[in-house]
């Protein structure tokens, strides 16, 4: 890998060198390095681009890194990664995509990640998206995440997109079994003329299942964002979604929440708040000696931290 790709890798996966545990690193449309462990296998798909990640039942305290980097302008790819997590596991999965586009053609990565999580398993899934390069070509990412959560399993999903992605359509759908839990934390910042759409569809099918979707976003300059969330309570369950957005300059944010209770004991809540930075917050930080610009940066950084 060259320096640009190494920098992208650091941005999206925090990696300075090859990680310990299982990993698959994909650069410019090809798998460039891979490692498996006694409990985690990674196999290329025969019929299309992508890999199967198979985690044996009972695997604890192990991690899988599957970052993707693109530095060739004009490259477009569609990748399917399927995660089969056995029963009674406790693992961390770090994905992420970095695109450097120094050319005039669009570079685009579309990825579908499917998770099949077994009973009593805990998965932490971290996904960062980042774009760089001063080419006129767009840096486009469209991630789709599909989740099936088995009985009493728990998925914590953290997604971060802070810089450089011109256009993104993010779709996450989840079906939860009995006692299953899902927590999604999304951090998003758009600038320039970027657009971002993020949508969630959560089906709380299992008795005692719960979901908490938390989105915090900042839209600057002329960028636009759309937040869509649908939570269906199909059993005795608890669902909560929260969208907090800060708009700056000429940006626009829309939040369209939908909660549907199909069961008498479904408890569903949606909260949404969009607005500019409160003037009194800036004033308070200025009384501590920060300039207006420093105060604004502090508030935005804290909000997305």
């Amino acid at each position: 890998m060259d320096e640009i790709q190494k920098n992208l890798l650091e941005q999206v996966a925090g990696l300075h060198e090859m990680p310990t545990g299982a990993y698959n690193i994909r650069a410019d449309g090809k798998s460039v390095d891979r490692a498996t462990t006694a409990h985690i296998d990674i196999v290329s798909k025969d019929d299309r681009q992508g890999i199967d990640i198979v985690i044996k039942p009972g695997t604890k305290n192990e991690s899988v890194h599957i970052p993707v980097v693109l530095s060739e302008s004009g490259l477009t790819e569609m990748v399917y990664n399927d995660f089969y997590v056995g029963d009674d596991c406790d693992v961390t999965i770090v994905a992420g995509c970095g695109i450097h586009n120094g050319g005039s053609e669009d570079s685009r990565h579309d990825g579908v990640h499917s998770f099949y999580i077994g009973k009593n398993s805990h998965v932490k899934y971290v996904e960062k998206h980042y774009g760089s390069g001063d080419g006129k070509g767009g840096r486009i990412m469209n991630p789709e995440t599909v989740v099936e959560l088995g009985e009493n399993s728990f998925l914590e999903m953290e997604t971060v997109q802070i810089k450089g992605v011109d256009s993104t359509k993010r779709s996450t759908s989840a079906k939860l079994g009995n006692g299953a839990r899902l927590i999604v934390t999304e951090k998003l910042m758009t600038h320039g003329s970027q657009t971002a759409e993020t949508s969630f569809q959560v089906d709380l099918d299992g008795e005692g299942s719960s979901a908490n979707i938390i989105s915090r976003s900042v839209a600057r300059d002329d960028s636009t964002q759309m937040f869509l969330s649908k939570i269906n309570g199909n059993n005795r369950c608890a669902g909560h979604s929260e969208c907090d957005g800060i708009i700056m300059d000429n940006a626009k944010i829309s939040a369209v929440p939908e909660i549907t209770a199909n069961h008498l004991d479904a408890q569903l809540i949606h909260e949404a708040a969009i607005g500019k930075i409160a003037g009194e917050q800036i004033t308070k930080l200025m009384t501590l000696g920060l300039t207006e610009e420093e105060a604004e940066a502090q508030i935005v950084n804290g909000f997305l931290k």
């Binding site: 004033t283 930080l285 200025m286 009384t287 501590l288 000696g289 508030i299 804290g302 909000f303 997305l304």
Partner: protein, 245 residues
């Protein structure tokens, strides 16, 4: 030393007339003194405090701090010149932790034990609070104490408090009095405290009574306090109300 010279502040009124909130005020605040400003609601106290910090700009008049004209300085410049300000209703932030706010107040060089010390001084167990967000999960009283901790952390030559007692519980209030006494005894800070509370007025060097945007009286507590309390008693007799000053 802080000097207010012919200070006035107007806002647009209902009928196109200007409403005068502060009327041609002249005041001097000597170094290392503790001055309490009291008076009826709507009398201009908070506005005066905000004019000193630069949150509001005067319609006319000048403000001098240690001989330098600061009338045209913005909030940041006044903060850097050595003025701090505790808000009557502290601001909440999503994503800024108590530790972050105190560090911003004290300066980036501050060590964690010092941050904990500032919180302890306002009666908060640092371990329980440093990693909490300064957001709606904190009660009004907790926020108020954190606000005061930011002022202790800044340790500026002049500290202005806008009704520090508002929203604070009885136990915190005892603590608050002790904080002000300690700040005053250290002789490092001049204090200007907007307050309705007799116990705060009691520990001040001087009391200023502000009403209708003008200074009605100024003097030592032995001169002003009995007069204020007499006024309160006559109100209580007339209306049977349990009033604060």
């Amino acid at each position: 030393m802080l000097e207010l010279q012919n200070l006035s502040f107007q806002v647009p009124g209902d009928d196109r007339d200007q409403k005068e909130i502060i009327r041609d005020i002249n005041l001097t605040f000597e170094d290392h003194t503790f001055i309490a400003i009291t008076g009826p609601n709507g009398g201009g106290k908070s506005t005066l405090a905000r004019l000193i910090m630069g949150i509001e700009r005067p319609t006319s008049g000048r403000i001098l701090f240690n001989g330098k004209d600061i009338t045209d300085l913005d909030i940041t410049e006044r903060a850097k010149a050595g003025i701090s300000f505790a808000f009557q209703q502290p601001v909440r932030f999503k994503g800024i932790k108590v530790k972050d706010l105190i560090t911003l107040a004290a300066g980036s060089q501050v060590k964690l034990p010092n941050v904990c010390d500032y919180l302890s001084r306002v009666g908060l167990c640092a371990r329980d609070y440093i990693n909490r967000d300064v957001d709606a999960s904190l009660s009004g009283g907790e926020l108020k104490r954190i606000e005061i901790a930011t002022i202790i952390a800044r340790n500026t030559p002049l500290a202005v408090f806008d009704e520090p007692e508002a929203g604070i519980d009885l136990w915190s209030f005892q603590n608050l009095i002790r904080v002000f006494e300690e700040m005053h005894q250290s002789r490092e800070n001049s204090l200007i405290i907007i307050s309705h509370q007799e116990r705060i007025l009691n520990i001040a060097d001087e009391i200023i009574v502000l009403a209708g945007g003008t200074v009605q009286a100024r003097g030592r507590k032995s001169e002003i306090l009995p007069e204020l309390l007499r006024g309160t008693e006559s109100c209580q007799r007339a209306y049977g109300a349990d009033m604060q000053i």
